[in-house]
């Protein structure tokens, strides 16, 4: 299991490939489930130019690790990779990567979904967006579905 905060941009797809290549037990996991969250250029009807992601040093890392440990206890996953950006983020950059490996797809997909949803609801991060007339804090995360936003 690897859980890391990243202050600099990362390529989520390449990170999954590198982690899997270094994993050492090919054939064990029949399923890999990946979620990548990327910075949009719009939010709440406004164009967004950039973003700063604040966190609570110590608590954020601890919380992310606990989420992954909980998922590993709940579903039969072999491994978890969780990376999350901090600091100044540009449009199009990856913000979060959740990847899980399991024997079967159900465990991998459910564990990935749980990790990203729990992270969005409880992990101490705060987004501040740069919009046309200045900066604004994001007050809440969306539900995850366009129709309900």
């Amino acid at each position: 299991m690897r859980v890391e905060l990243r202050p600099a941009p990362f390529d989520a797809v390449a990170e999954v490939g590198d982690y899997r290549a270094a994993g050492g037990s090919p054939g064990k996991s029949g399923a890999t489930s990946i979620f990548i969250g990327t910075m949009r250029d719009f939010n709440e009807g406004e164009e967004v130019g950039a973003m700063t992601l604040e966190h609570y040093p110590g608590m954020t890392e601890k919380h992310l690790k606990e989420i992954c440990e909980h998922a590993a206890g709940q579903w039969a996953v072999h491994d978890i990779l969780l990376l999350h950006r901090t600091g100044d983020i540009e449009v199009g950059e990856d913000i979060v990567l959740v990847a899980t490996w399991a024997a079967h797809r159900g465990d991998a997909i459910d564990a990935t979904r749980f990790i990203i949803e729990d992270l969005k609801h409880r992990a101490p991060f705060w987004k501040k967006e740069t919009v046309s007339d200045g900066e604004r804090w994001v007050d809440r995360n969306t539900s995850g579905y366009s129709a309900a936003d």
Partner: protein, 78 residues
């Protein structure tokens, strides 16, 4: 002197005008006492979240010597 370390994040940090406080510990001290002292008796924002020693807490727990208390708005990561 034993202290309670107090931290503010995001919008709360900006509104308070500082990131940290240190408060002298007294037996019976609660989270609401820390907030009232830090904010000058402003009402606690309804949506505000509180962590003690980096764990989310609900209600108004009593604090222990050396605790770290953090006040922050709803989280928006991911």
């Amino acid at each position: 002197m034993s202290i309670i370390k107090v931290k503010f994040f995001a919008r709360i940090r900006e509104e308070m005008g500082r990131a940290e406080d240190q408060v002298e510990f007294k037996p019976g001290l609660k989270v609401s006492d820390i907030w009232n002292r830090a904010s000058g008796d402003d009402e606690m924002p309804e949506a505000m979240l509180v962590a003690v020693n980096m764990e989310h807490v609900k209600g108004d727990p009593e604090l222990k010597e050396g605790d770290e208390v953090a006040f922050f708005p709803p989280v928006t990561g991911g």
